[in-house]
Amino acid sequence: MLRFDGVEVRQGDFVMRADLALTPDAVTAVIGPSGSGKSTLLATAAGFVTPERGEVRIGGEPVTRLAPADRPVSIVFQDGNLFPHLDIATNLALGRDPGGRVAAYRDEIETALARVGLEGLGSRRPGELSGGQQSRAALARAFLRHRPVVLLDEPFAALGPALRREMLALTAEIFADATVLIVTHAPEDARAIAAETIFVDGGVARSPAPTAALLDDPPPSLRAYL
């Protein structure tokens, strides 16, 4: 579904290389030391970073030249997923229509909110929700977009362990038929949600490997990180 064909990204002195393919309709985790290129990998898939070489493909089609919004992907950031000056319903409506017209999508918004356990909270502002509820709202908008690829960049890093497990389970549930790529700095998150894991180190993203096997018998560089 999502492939990086000989992709090379250059940012100043830093170079990130990726030549790999994700298993369709499954969750793949990305782990690695900070500064290794995890977020760059995700930003390249999302379209915030343009590679110097290679091609990003989704469903076989090249998307490398497409603007972020024109790619068949949804993205959830580490923070700043919701506009604090807009209510939750408008924040969700923006997922369907950049003008954010709530009335046109009211039913869909309610369904998405119900799906993440935020029934009836559409009129609240993000500041009136707890951290966990804000994460749920961000997931609801990604869900509402119905894009085949979902990218999550350490989305629950600010939450406590129990809440994080809950959110990972919710993510796996609502995106069951999407190809999901999730960056995390916690190996237990990868174990909990991802059948396969990409290890990124020193600017090289390795092909996805079965998570349990990778973490139980790590190669030397991953062992050093763990």
Partner: protein, 510 residues
């Protein structure tokens, strides 16, 4: 992005076309005579003296404010921002009411049988410039003082530093950084000052270049001479602006100045008395003229002529149009600048207004309009445009940090959702920039409301703005009516600023 380009193009066109017209009309510097040189010399000398006096008086006052906590300190610090909004003509009437021969000081000295020094001429110009720039200097110096980390003062206390040691090791290095830029900024402001020279200066011994441009227009009707003087002014302000470019234009009024660092070195009784005296004298110097104008104005308020009310209505319209223009340009430029990590073109367009003198701009616009239209009939639109250009740097500086923050925090999110153009403006930019937008709009409206510059060049009596009307009453020695009209001007200016600034703060969400 395109809106930013269009805005930058408009700004450069409106600045460069008049300058080109001035340079073409003047045809070189060969026509410079003794009177022109005298104007340049007076401009430089009064600006230099005003800058030095303002800063010299500001240093002890800022130090006193930085190390003392007292009731009313917050109000006083806020008031230090007020002269920026204060229409020049109002302040001049206030200064006359206190320091003039018929003023408080003159009458007080008269009782003692001493004649008060004349306020007109060199001293008057310098006095007014110090009145306007002392508060600015105090605020910028106070920022410098408060930027010295509190730990340093604790360290100084633990090492047993006295006031002179603190001065040498902590305060002097800060002053060395701040003062040169501050002198340059005040020098720049004073070189382009027109209304002060118009009212308190004049005559061969006290004419600034700006005033000479005005006189060339109004009395000699000699646009060529005005253009020649404009070149001189252009070179002068250009040099001063280059020197002042090191210091940023203040983007807000006293935010973060509502605290003091705990000090252990200045507890001696005589130091406390000295600071109290300084703060009291400084406060009186700033407040007395405003109090005097309010008292005089209230007495004659009921007798205001209809012409004053008509001028007030015209001024309100000009101020609103000018604020709308300034905000539109500043918003387009700030948003465009915020989407790039380096954007010298947009930043230059946003700040170029500080280096252009209003009268030079007015001369150029006059020369451009003359072949195609009657410049006098276009006095009000031209004034609105010139005022917008003058307040653009302040509006731009107020908006840019918020625009950058909105882009940094939510730019990628908006990109990922495909929010461009109108949707992005309505759903992201305007809500995130609401507070600085309100502040900037208030500032632009207030500056335009109080401006007595380009309008004096163009206007005929039919289309006077309120500041010009005040000046006319004053020049006709109808001082009571002038004071009442000035009070109206002051009230409208502050009300405009308050209404916009308040509008930006209302229903604030995160």
């Amino acid at each position: 992005m395109t809106a930013g380009r269009v805005a930058a193009g408009c700004v450069f066109a409106v600045v460069l076309a008049p300058l080109a017209a001035v340079i073409w009309r003047a045809g070189g510097l060969s026509g410079f005579g003794a009177a022109e040189w005298a104007a340049i010399r007076f401009t430089v000398v009064q600006a230099a003296v005003s800058a030095v006096l303002s800063v010299a008086a500001a240093i002890p006052l800022a130090r006193a404010l930085a190390r003392r906590e007292f009731p009313g300190r917050g109000v006083l610090v806020t008031l230090l921002g007020a002269p920026f909004l204060l229409p020049v003509i109002v302040a001049i009437l206030g200064l006359l009411a206190v320091f003039g021969q018929a003023g408080l000081l003159g009458r007080g000295l008269g009782l003692l049988g001493v004649e008060a020094p004349r306020i007109y001429g060199f001293h008057g110009v310098v006095l007014a410039h110090v009145f306007f720039n002392l508060p600015l200097a105090v605020r910028l110096l106070l920022q410098g003082w408060l930027a010295i980390p509190g730990e340093r003062f604790r360290l100084a206390a633990s090492l047993g530093f006295g006031p002179s040691d603190v001065m040498r090791h902590l305060e002097w290095p800060m002053l060395r950084d701040v003062v040169p830029g501050l002198l340059a900024v005040i020098f720049l402001i004073c070189t382009t000052s027109f209304a002060v020279a118009l009212t308190l200066g004049g005559g061969p011994a006290a004419t600034t270049v700006e005033l000479a441009i005005y006189q060339a227009f109004r009395f000699d009707f000699d646009p060529g001479k005005a253009a020649l003087l404009s070149i001189g002014q252009l070179i002068l302000t250009g040099l001063a602006a280059l020197a002042a470019a090191r210091i940023a234009i203040p983007a807000n009024f006293g935010d973060g100045l509502d605290r003091t660092a705990r000090r252990w070195d200045a507890t001696a009784l005589w130091l406390r008395a000295q600071d109290a005296l300084l703060i009291g004298a400084g406060g009186l110097f700033l407040l007395l003229p405003l109090g005097a104008i309010t008292a005089q104005g209230l007495a004659a308020f009921a007798r205001l002529p209809d012409a004053v009310w008509a001028a007030a209505a015209r001024s309100l319209v000009v101020a609103l149009v000018s604020a709308g223009l300034a905000i539109g340009l500043a918003l387009a430029l700030a948003v465009a600048a915020s989407r790039k990590s380096r954007s010298p073109g947009f930043e230059l367009a946003g700040t170029v207004g500080v280096a252009v003198s209003p009268l030079v701009l007015g001369t150029g616009l006059y020369l451009l309009l003359l072949p195609v239209a009657d410049p006098v009939a276009l006095a009000l639109p031209v004034t609105a445009l010139a005022n917008a250009l003058m307040s653009l740097p302040f509006a731009f500086r107020a908006l840019l940090p918020a625009a950058r923050a909105a882009e940094r925090d939510y730019g990628r999110l908006a990109d990922s959702l495909g929010m461009g153009g109108w949707a992005r403006l309505r759903r992201l930019t305007l809500p995130r920039l609401r507070r600085p937008l309100g502040f900037a709009a208030g500032l632009a409206a207030a500056l335009s409301m109080g401006d007595l510059g380009v309008i004096a060049l163009f206007a005929d009596p039919e289309f006077a703005t309120l500041p010009l009307q005040v000046y006319r009453l004053m020049a006709a020695y109808r001082m009571e009516e002038a004071a009442a009209a000035a009070l109206l001007l002051l009230g409208l200016t502050l009300a405009l600023f308050w209404a916009f600034d308040r509008g930006g703060r209302g229903h604030a969400t995160v």
